[in-house]
């Protein structure tokens, strides 16, 4: 496996870019999930409507189409807004997966029994404390497992940014493939790296899942 020594450092460079994009995009997606969920449960119709449009548009169209839209359409008139590929990648992935995330969050918030809201209200808690101390911790138990899946989807989605000229792991793999023709080794290694990254995400999220459900009797599956 002499090839491994030559290929791995270059692929690792790409992996670093992939990880950077994934981390920033996950942060933006979490924020957007919150914004989306707040908008859709708002008392004002205009805000609810905005939230619905956001979620439906970003869930109903393809991630690649959205990335291309941001990358090719925005720099041209009438927008004249040229973003760097890195920004496009983070904004595109964040908005796309944020829309999915807001659905998860909404479902999880709804799964918290109504009595919990009422009890918090009866204890005269302000709305922010009620959310932070009572509702969110319980919603997280239901939100985290699907959120883990979504993060893996996002991680896989980062491979598409290679098509908007970012030198992420996939881009490096293609580049190396064209330079060295060690096609099979390179792609096998790339797949393995993505697999390991996904396993790391799962491991980290399991840790958080255990933390939020600490002291709560789990309903066993099956």
């Amino acid at each position: 496996m002499g090839d491994l020594h030559e290929l791995l450092p270059l692929l690792m460079k790409g992996t670093l870019v992939t990880v950077e994009i994934a981390v920033f995009a996950i942060l933006l997606a979490i924020v957007m999930a919150g914004v989306g969920a707040v908008l859709r449960t708002s008392a004002w119709r205009v805000l609810r409507w905005t939230g619905n449009v956001y979620v439906e548009v970003f869930r109903g169209t393809s991630l690649l189409v959205q990335l291309f839209w941001l990358f090719f359409v925005l720099p041209l008139p009438p927008f004249n807004l040229a973003l760097t590929p890195f920004t496009v990648a983070i904004v595109g992935l964040g908005l796309h997966y944020g829309a999915y995330g807001s659905e998860i969050l909404r479902g999880a918030l709804r799964s918290v029994p109504g009595g919990q809201y009422e009890a918090a209200l009866a204890l005269n808690m302000p709305a922010s404390t009620r959310m932070r101390r009572i509702v969110l911790p319980q919603a997280m138990i239901n939100a985290l497992p699907p959120a883990t899946n979504l993060m893996i989807e996002l991680l896989k989605g980062t491979s598409l940014v290679s098509l908007i000229t970012l030198s992420d792991l996939t881009f490096r793999a293609r580049q190396l493939d064209e330079a060295t023709f060690k096609t099979a080794e390179i792609f096998a290694l790339t797949l393995a790296i993505y697999f390991v990254l996904a396993q790391i995400v799962v491991a980290v999220m399991r840790h958080f899942e255990r933390r939020v459900s600490h002291g709560i009797v789990q309903r066993t599956v099956k």
Partner: protein, 219 residues
Amino acid sequence: MSSLFDVQYALHILPDLLRASMYTIGITLVGFAIALVLGLVLAILRRSAIMPVSRVTGFFVEFIRSTPLLIQVYVLFYVAPLYGLTMSALTAGTIGIAVHYACYVSEVYRAGLNGVARGQWEAACALSLSPWRTYSGVILPQAIRPVIPALGNYLVAMFKDTPVLSAITVVELMQQAKNIGSETFRYLEPITMTGLFFLLISVTFASGVRHLEHRVRLP
């Protein structure tokens, strides 16, 4: 050149985009048909009593599910020819997306199969039905109906993933839009229209699935 959405131009490129969207829909339908069958095979293999078979299937499903579709199509298109398996971009793309979603679909089937009451298996065993009749006559009709909505979601997801195939030169809707854009340097209309197409067609698929779900509901 007007700076806003040029309707004249949009109408001019509409036929090209419609033709390309037929490709997209074709890939989706063929790919999903393969995924439904292959997914069922994977789900049943994963329940196999022979440990190595279920282990290997389980790992295969997990591996495919946690690596990007883009790389998998690259492998089919660039690596498979090295081992004497040359495919056209369209074939490689359709197979790639079908296998990718077969793994997702197999998880859905698995949930469905786990949901079938134990007594059903035991009854089939007591009646000494063959494995084939146990599955086709007793288990699957009960396992599949409840998971149809989940299967439908994957149909829509798969449809939205077809633009990935443009990376291996399949001229589907997205690639066509990009080609038009690079010819005329007007990206606004083609790419926006592509987005609208996707929105329209995925909403149509979703409502079709909802209709089907209503029709096959267990009495």
